[in-house]
């Protein structure tokens, strides 16, 4: 039976069919589901690693041991995994090793808009870019073959629209050739300077071999489709789909399924056949720069953009000068930014921070939404783990104000890369207060287990890191646990941490309200006779509370009965509802 595959799900199916045996990843939108779907196959050892560097190194170790292996991450995750990547390119593999990186043009759920194709060029690692779910499945299998053919890791690059679109894909059986034999070979696997010098020569030759392979079409990865030759389009990935929809048979296409290394003659020959050649690529002028370097005149970023996503209508407008008619309502469209969910345990924590009027070094996760009004309690957000290290930096620069600043970081993010910053705080002794928002899950990416939750990727019991013991082990003596649903306790706990000498860790502990295992109280109700319209309950920014006819009302479809708002009401107007 035909089935619609999410792009990420199709990659997981490709892993299964290719006989992949080991998958290690850290969650990150839009890459997360690949590993979740992979974990559903019993034949694959799957895991959530603490971070992308660990995941990439696990995949490397497995590949050297002779198992086809894989790791997935979002674009910024590849920054973390860049260290093993650049040298794994030198060592090469034994069994195939594939790294998936998912870019997020338009920043649907990311802190920057980096273009990961530069990593392929920088690390001299072959990179494939599928354009739909069928190609996600097919390219994943081919990536393993190419990894073994050229003795290199291979990167698959997705963008959000490929990762998170559903389309059909033909499936096949799994072919598992077992473990490949491992042979000790220090010249290949021990990257000390003497060996690495030799391997760099091999890498440069490998690229030349790969270019020759790409010139020949890379077994159908690079395809030429001639229609009208007035317009020629050089493109890859999702932009191919946009171009096809906008231009149809009014253009010819060179679709590059392999975006590193790029062919030379294939592009020159295609360009020579077409009157005007456009390069259609989201984010940086990566293919365009290559074209210019080999002397091909193309239209690219001058006519399009380095920012955000492309679309069929953008291409139709620029190339054909066509625009769709549309209806205008004249309604004042109020923005609807994402917010902390009703019942979110982070809300009480941020309200307590607001009362304490501290500077907050923030991090990456649901709690980044604590930056939004009316809470507005985050001062900086940089990257995973930076809250802790940056707080130390702030306090080193301005020790007199160390008692007026904190870091906030989630349980999963703390394990990812916050713990190293905490070691630095303890070792280099600033009076820093780090608040770990322990909601017992990796929240923003959609509820993945992590080393603190006591469960593995399959939901089976696993070792749980004790955050209290870990903090003490690295040298933080003052560890305070609070329940963020209790505003007075939370405020008091943080206050004590700030007033005490030395660094401290506050663990704000309460499971994510969306977890299926969490039991909720019945929705609360506002007694309109008692409500004095003071709007105190509005100060926490709960989406379930609004004002109607001058009185606060609570939306029963959203309220989870967390009782944070009722602690703010001086008139006892917020009452418990009925089950």
């Amino acid at each position: 039976m035909k089935k619609l595959f999410l792009g990420n799900e199709a990659v997981a199916r490709g892993l299964y069919e290719a006989g992949c045996r080991v998958v290690s990843s850290y969650p990150g939108t839009p890459s997360t589901e690949v590993t979740e779907f992979a974990a559903a196959y019993d034949e694959i050892f799957s895991e959530w690693a603490p971070n992308e560097k660990v995941a990439c190194e696990v995949a490397f170790g497995a590949a050297v041991a002779g198992a086809r292996s894989f790791c997935a991450m979002k674009h910024v995750g590849l920054n973390v995994a860049a260290d093993p990547l650049f040298t794994a390119s030198y060592t090469g593999v034994n069994a195939g090793m594939v790294i998936l990186v998912a870019d997020d043009p338009g920043m649907h759920s990311s802190q920057n808009e980096q273009d990961s194709r530069h990593y392929a060029m920088g690390s001299k690692t072959m990179m494939l870019e599928p354009a739909d779910s069928a190609e996600c499945l097919d390219y994943t299998k081919r990536a393993f073959e190419l990894s073994e053919k050229f003795d290199t890791p291979v990167i698959i690059r997705l963008t959000t629209r490929v990762a998170h679109s559903r389309s059909t894909a033909p499936i096949a059986d799994r072919v598992d050739n077992g473990l490949k034999e491992y042979t000790k070979n220090p010249q290949k696997y021990v990257m000390v300077p003497a060996n690495a010098k030799g391997k760099h020569v091999v890498v440069e030759q490998r690229i030349l071999d790969q270019i020759a392979y790409c010139e020949e079409g890379a077994d159908g990865l690079n395809t030429v489709e001639y229609n009208s030759k007035k317009i020629g389009v050089i493109t890859s990935g999702i932009c191919y789909q946009y171009a096809k929809e906008a231009l149809g048979e009014n253009a010819s296409y060179l679709k590059l399924g392999c975006v590193y290394p790029l062919p030379v003659d294939l592009i020159k020959n295609f360009a020579a056949e077409c009157e005007t050649v456009y390069v259609l690529e989201e984010l940086d002028d990566y293919i365009e720069t290559h074209c210019r370097k080999i002397g091909i005149e193309v239209i690219g970023k001058d006519a399009f953009t380095l920012q955000g996503e492309y679309s069929q209508s953008m291409i139709a407008k620029v190339i054909l000068g066509k625009e769709n008619e549309c209806l205008k309502s004249g309604v004042n469209i109020v923005p609807r930014p994402p917010v902390l969910c009703a019942g979110c345990p982070h809300r009480g924590l941020f309200y307590a921070l607001k009362q304490l009027n501290v500077t907050v070094s923030g991090d990456i996760g649901c709690y980044t939404l604590g930056a939004s009004q009316p809470l507005g309690m985050i001062d900086t957000v940089l990257c995973m783990g930076a809250s802790v290290s940056a707080l130390h930096g702030r306090n080193a620069a301005d020790p007199a104000n160390a008692k007026k600043s904190v870091a906030v970081i989630g349980d999963s993010t703390f394990i990812h890369s916050g713990v190293t910053g905490l070691i630095n705080i303890a070792y280099n002794a600033t009076d820093s207060v780090v608040i770990i928002l322990d909601n017992s899950i990796t929240g923003m990416t959609g509820h993945q287990q992590n080393p603190t939750t006591g469960k593995n990727i399959k939901g089976e019991p696993a070792n749980a890191v004790s955050l209290e013991a870990l903090a003490k082990a690295v040298g933080i003596q003052n560890v305070i646990v609070v329940d963020p649903y209790n505003l007075a306790e939370t405020k008091e706990g943080i206050k004590n941490a700030l007033e005490a000498d030395g660094p401290a860790v506050v663990i704000s502990r309460r499971p994510c309200a969306l977890l299926k295992t969490v039991k909720h109280n019945p929705p609360l109700k506002v007694n309109p006779d008692k409500c004095k319209s003071c709007k105190m309950c509005m100060k926490i920014g709960c989406p379930a509370i609004s004002m109607k006819d001058g009185k606060a009302v609570i939306d029963f479809t959203q309220c989870l009965g967390c009782n944070v708002c009722s602690q703010l009401c001086k008139f006892g107007a917020i009452e418990e509802g009925k089950a």
Binding site: H164, R166, N324, V331, R336, M444, G541, P543
Partner: protein, 190 residues
């Protein structure tokens, strides 16, 4: 003829399930189908949109201004936000539920008045559904999404009713099937 359908709403309303049921029903009818979703941060109570396209052969998974044959809006303000994406002769089905966005909750701006009238005045072919009380009547306020799927099903000659029922049955947990079938019928028979 390729067709484009947008499902828009507020994160948490169940728009993703609606698009999956629609996608499964269309595939079962033999169409080429593409569905595009947005996951992650914008899901947390933000404005969410899902694209479903079907026909003989679909290239781009996304829908742009002036391209949607049908917009199924789970909330009034979201209907207005995405109206420009409707073809001038397309149909917009609007749940009349109002969910205040945070700037309104905070009192920094007002929820716009007269949205339905404004959509009509813009020339849209509009059908309104008051799905929340219907869902409560069906047995659970969360069934708003299935009421709205029923309302959309009635407007789509491209899919036979039994295909909808089949896709719905395969997409919801068995213990909620009866509730969901009831909700679907209520939406279908408006």
């Amino acid at each position: 003829m390729n067709k484009s359908i947008m499902i828009v709403g507020v994160g948490g309303q169940g728009t993703l399930l609606a698009s999956r049921i629609l996608g499964a029903a269309l595939l079962d009818c033999g169409y080429d189908v593409k569905v595009s979703e947005v996951h992650g941060m914008s899901q947390r109570g933000g404005s969410v949109v899902t694209y479903v396209k079907f026909g003989e052969s679909i290239a781009s998974p996304i829908i742009e201004k002036g391209e949607a044959d049908i917009i199924l809006a789970f909330e009034k303000l979201e209907a207005a936000r995405w109206l420009e994406y409707l073809k001038p002769d397309g149909k917009i089905i609007v749940n009349t539920q109002q969910i205040d966005p945070m700037p309104v909750v905070m009192g920094s701006t007002e929820y716009p008045e007269g949205i339905i009238e404004a959509l009509k005045a813009a020339g849209a072919d509009i059908e309104t559904v008051d799905a929340l009380p219907m869902a409560v009547e069906a047995g659970n306020s969360k069934a708003v999404n299935v009421i709205l799927i029923g309302a959309m099903a009635k407007n789509m000659a491209d899919i036979a009713k039994e295909k909808w029922i089949k896709a719905l049955t395969e997409s919801v947990p068995p213990k909620f099937l009866e509730l969901n079938l009831k909700a679907f019928e209520m939406g279908y028979n408006i």
